[in-house]
Assembly symmetry: C2
Homo-oligomer: 347 residues x 2
Amino acid sequence: MDLGERKKKILGAVIEHYIRTAEPVGSRTISKLDELGVSSATIRNEMADLEEMGLLTQPHTSAGRIPSTMGYRTYVDRLMKNYEFSVSEINRLRSLMELQLTEVDSMIKELTGIYSYLTNYTIVGSSAGNNNGYIKNFHMVQIDRNSALLIVVTDKNIVKNKQIYFDCDIDSTVTEKISNMLNENLAGVVKSKINLEKIYEIQAEMDVYKSVLLPVLNFVNECIESLDNSEVFISGASKLLDFPEYSNVQKAKELLEFLDNKENLHRMAASVDNADVKIIIGNENDAIELKDCSIVLSSYNIKGKGTGTIGFIGPTRMNYSKAVSTLKLLTGQIDKLTSNKEPEGEK
Amino acid sequence: MDLGERKKKILGAVIEHYIRTAEPVGSRTISKLDELGVSSATIRNEMADLEEMGLLTQPHTSAGRIPSTMGYRTYVDRLMKNYEFSVSEINRLRSLMELQLTEVDSMIKELTGIYSYLTNYTIVGSSAGNNNGYIKNFHMVQIDRNSALLIVVTDKNIVKNKQIYFDCDIDSTVTEKISNMLNENLAGVVKSKINLEKIYEIQAEMDVYKSVLLPVLNFVNECIESLDNSEVFISGASKLLDFPEYSNVQKAKELLEFLDNKENLHRMAASVDNADVKIIIGNENDAIELKDCSIVLSSYNIKGKGTGTIGFIGPTRMNYSKAVSTLKLLTGQIDKLTSNKEPEGEK
DNA sequence: GTTAGCACTCAATCAAGTCGAGTGCTAATC
DNA sequence: GATTAGCACTCGACTTGATTGAGTGCTAAC
């Protein structure tokens, strides 16, 4: 799909205007923008085309157009220009550079707090987690003919347990054998050393009990996954309420509730691969709660500590270009502050 | 001020009804409550009396009555009965008892998260902080004739600074003297050892520079206050949006923004003395942002770690009796879990 | 002291009417 | 063939006015 130069300009103008105003954009508005000296009627035709292509939509006949997810996507991928910080913005941000904190985690939280305050965006993030958690030991206790309780104790002495039901009858030799096997193979092994192959190995080794093993391993896997003790946090959640799209309390509540749940943040943070900056727009999100939100995510690296994630969250019409630029600045600053972290320095 | 038995009953009925419905309560509603077999007209007279006493107010003529801060206060202090947990509530809460976590802080956070989820109230708290932070050293640099920069470095290498303006002209001997004095008297002294008397002592000693000293000491005090490295946290903030009083997004935003700021939470947490349970109603709060909120606070103690604070926050018409009971249960549970903290135990 | 009755108040709700921003289409123009 | 002016039409947003009903205060009777 190729857009003409003019269509690109119009799409860009519509999106940027909508980002600022949150109001559907009409053809007259665009035509007055003097970017391109054509009348509103022409714009109307072009906009009808763009709508046909699925880049714009109309909330109802006789309203202006608003960008669709695909529209934003095209904008972000192909049209967006780099956001230029104004002098005063640079000055405000530069003053942050003077922060001097030693505890890395609290520094990052502090920093995101300030950025959230300055940009008026909500920031979510996860601190750099080490993958050296492990499971201390496993216990398996038969409950009745076809169920047993699996108990898992982690290095932090968190105890998890689950009653597991089997398709067939079992006896205590089975539970014993399984728990022995788990203890031998997985107890004390740090998370980063456990991978799928290891699990498959076990599965092969225990071939006889295959059907019995599956639910057990599922739960074990769950436990291992949740071992990561990286912390997630959120700054400036209330900023979301600034956006007219959340003037409906019900909607706002659903989103805030979603963000309240650390599990969800974890999942979000985990989704970022090593790409530079990842942008997830509207219904590209896995969670339906986020179908009207966009997320701009990036990761940072602290040597000896691992990788953390940090990102902006806002309505789909967020200012992507500013978000991306700010995020780069923020992660850059984290890198800078953590690399030369010999404190003691005066201001 | 003494209330007759009937007035008490009516006040209690109004408050409890209002807590449930968030609607102004009319005389007919109360009269139908069959608690006391009198007609609505009688209730009206009594309610007029209660309004005159300042315990009830009317949002407008021809609306029912709603309790005033003073009304809630009398209710809480003198009328309120203990909340009785229902069997199912007790069962749900009891299942929490089975949690086994060792890291005290994360346990408490986890616990408050679950309680927030179950009670649908927002919970704020601060973890048990040690008071052994200190300020490493002070520097004072003259900037011009009547201002100087005060730089404070804490034990965590957090650097704070503030430009301080004086009423009179100063020279470098003054700044030098002040910074020497601060370093001699306060540098390296842990927070718990610093008290008002110490500050007064300094003030007396430096009598000559009294007017100069005041703004300096103010800032120093600020720094010392913020030394406490106990962490504050909030669980289930979005629950606030359930209350119709926050269906106005503007209002909700102000409150959430206030709670977003850790400083404010810190101040709130600090305000709890060693009382059993402290209830702060509406405009009894220092912060105007909380003038429509009530807070039920309590503290818990972990031996060897210090004191933490935990509390519910909600609209003034919160269910005080339930909040108090739940809070007692919660802090009790924390005590219990932290006292016999020999983990390793199976479920 | 209590209650029934009545006039009065006032927010909330609803329907009807108006307004205006914006569209799509057609015919004229460049 | 692309652009534009003009016009009829659509539809949400807003205004207005009438209606409703919950609730009050007061007075007179019980």
